[in-house]
Amino acid sequence: MTKMPATTAKKLGLVIDLDTCVGCHGCVTACKGWNTQNYGAPLSDIDAYGADPEGTFLNRVFSYNVQPDDGGAAQTIHFPKSCLHCEDAPCVTVCPTGASYKRAEDGIVLVNEDRCIGCGLCAWSCPYGARELDQDAGVMKKCTLCVDRIYNENLPEEDREPACVRTCPSNARHFGDFADPDSAVSKLVAERGGIDLMPEQGTRPVNQYLPPRPKDTLDKTPPPQLQTVATEAKGFLGWLDKALDALPGGEKTETAKERL
């Protein structure tokens, strides 16, 4: 049903630490791998070895430059983006078929592919570009929070977390229950000041982003520029320089000194 549950018992989601993400795209690959072999239709690639390849991904990593307003050093920030499992998920209520739903038990937003008509309206309603219509299967794909890993008793305990979290080499991704104020993710968000993406859209995202910590600033004035010691080219090179300048097309009037 596309009616939203009034509350969800748990609020499972991710914390993404923008301070430590190194932009390796490991999470992108792990996600594609797991979700191509498990829940629902595989994530297809179109023209995979051709001139214009494209494919379905549930997680993508952007990279941004941020220039601090106080004139400090610019920062490069890698920015993984996947479904935020919003509490007020517009992608659920717009769906005409009931394929798009939010689970009352843990807040995960999923697509039932046996009902989806591939109309794309849910993707239009998502501010974050988190849903991609699979061009081969014709059904909507989105992050499942690895619902088929986190409760999967066939996997060893340490693997019962989303594939992206499990694979991240820099520990930039954390998984947990935000409804529990004592969970590791809740504490992390409280401590570091978690960010809602596009709060003005009113979606109340569950996934939180931890802002990059401020970078070091130079506390003393930089050393003075080196002074030029030779302004006039001398010896053979000086002669060559003048001779070449004298040729047609050379910089006839300008001396090396003027050029500096």
Binding site: F57, F62, Y64, P68, G120, S125
Partner: protein, 292 residues
């Protein structure tokens, strides 16, 4: 947004078809027999044709039956149900008028008219509800969809003078919507900074996109081709949509030839403006991709 032919044809044609139904239900032009057949044929052809076109937008049509199930929350579902109910309600009215020259079922007409308008309203709400597309997300959007339907419907119902006046209002409101729409995105305050939450540090620019190839999001929602021609297209649309038909309808004597020419011009204008409706619409997801 990507101006897909299927959704342009769907919204334009079904709007006109249901607009005509609205007039037929109220007893305009009040034909019976073969003439009534003509009117109902056009109304059914436009509305059903439009709805069929919309199914070409679906990537997985085999589940289409489920799309009638979520009327409690989904405008798309409501639109489907209202459309089918409207088409069914008009069936006995049309059959009685065409084959029995009878007005026995005409009492259903006004109910059908209200349903036809409700259908167009539901269509408009599919777009209006999307906060992610600020240009659509304003009260003028449903008003315009309804006016397009009722004005075009009047033209199809051969109510020349009424159509002329309605089209004048339509053009004025369409320009208001274009101009208000131009400011909508900026008014929402969404920037690359709010999209990434990095505005608290400083000015955000793109270093590298997440992917070098195109993808569904870019194809569908980051359509920028054609925006640069929007001024010209607005003028072209205005001329065909409004100026030519209004001059013909209000100044020339009413006859079949004038009506058909006015209608053809109006249709061209409707398609141009509907193309713009999609092509000009900026989706907030574009902020993740924009260079600046």
């Amino acid at each position: 947004m990507h101006p897909a032919p299927s959704v342009i044809v769907f919204t334009a044609l079904s709007g006109l078809g249901f607009g005509l139904f609205m007039w037929l239900g109220l007893g305009f032009p009040g034909f019976t027999g073969m003439a009534a057949f003509g009117s109902y044929f056009i109304a059914y052809a436009f509305s059903v044709g439009g709805l069929l076109a919309s199914t070409y937008h679906l990537a997985n049509r085999k589940n289409a039956i489920y799309s009638f199930s979520q009327w409690q929350t989904s405008w798309l579902s409501r639109e489907g149900i209202l459309a089918v109910v409207t088409l069914l309600v008009f069936a006995p009215v049309a059959i009685a008028q065409i084959f029995f020259q009878s007005d026995a079922w005409n009492w259903l007409g006004p109910i059908g008219s209200a349903l036809a308008l409700a259908t167009v309203f539901a269509t408009s709400m599919i777009y209006t509800q999307l906060k992610t597309i600020p240009r659509w997300n304003m009260p003028l959007t449903p008003v315009l969809f309804l006016l397009y339907a009722v004005a075009g419907g009047a033209l199809l119902a051969m109510q020349a003078k009424v159509a002329g006046v309605l089209i004048l209002i339509l053009v004025a409101l369409q320009w208001a919507a274009w101009m208000m729409g131009d400011r909508r995105f900026a008014d929402t305050g969404t920037t690359k900074g709010t999209a990434t939450g990095l505005d608290r540090i400083g000015t955000v620019t793109t270093f590298e996109s997440a992917h070098t190839a195109r993808n569904y999001i870019l194809d569908e929602m980051v359509h920028i081709v054609g925006r640069k021609h929007s001024e010209k297209l607005r003028m072209i649309s205005t001329i065909f949509l409004g100026v030519i038909p209004v001059l013909m309808l209000l100044l020339l004597p009413a006859n079949m030839f004038v009506a058909i020419l006015a209608l053809v011009s109006h249709l061209v204008g409707v398609f141009a403006s509907r193309w713009l409706f999609f092509a000009e619409a900026e989706h907030v997801v574009g902020t993740y991709y924009a260079r600046g």
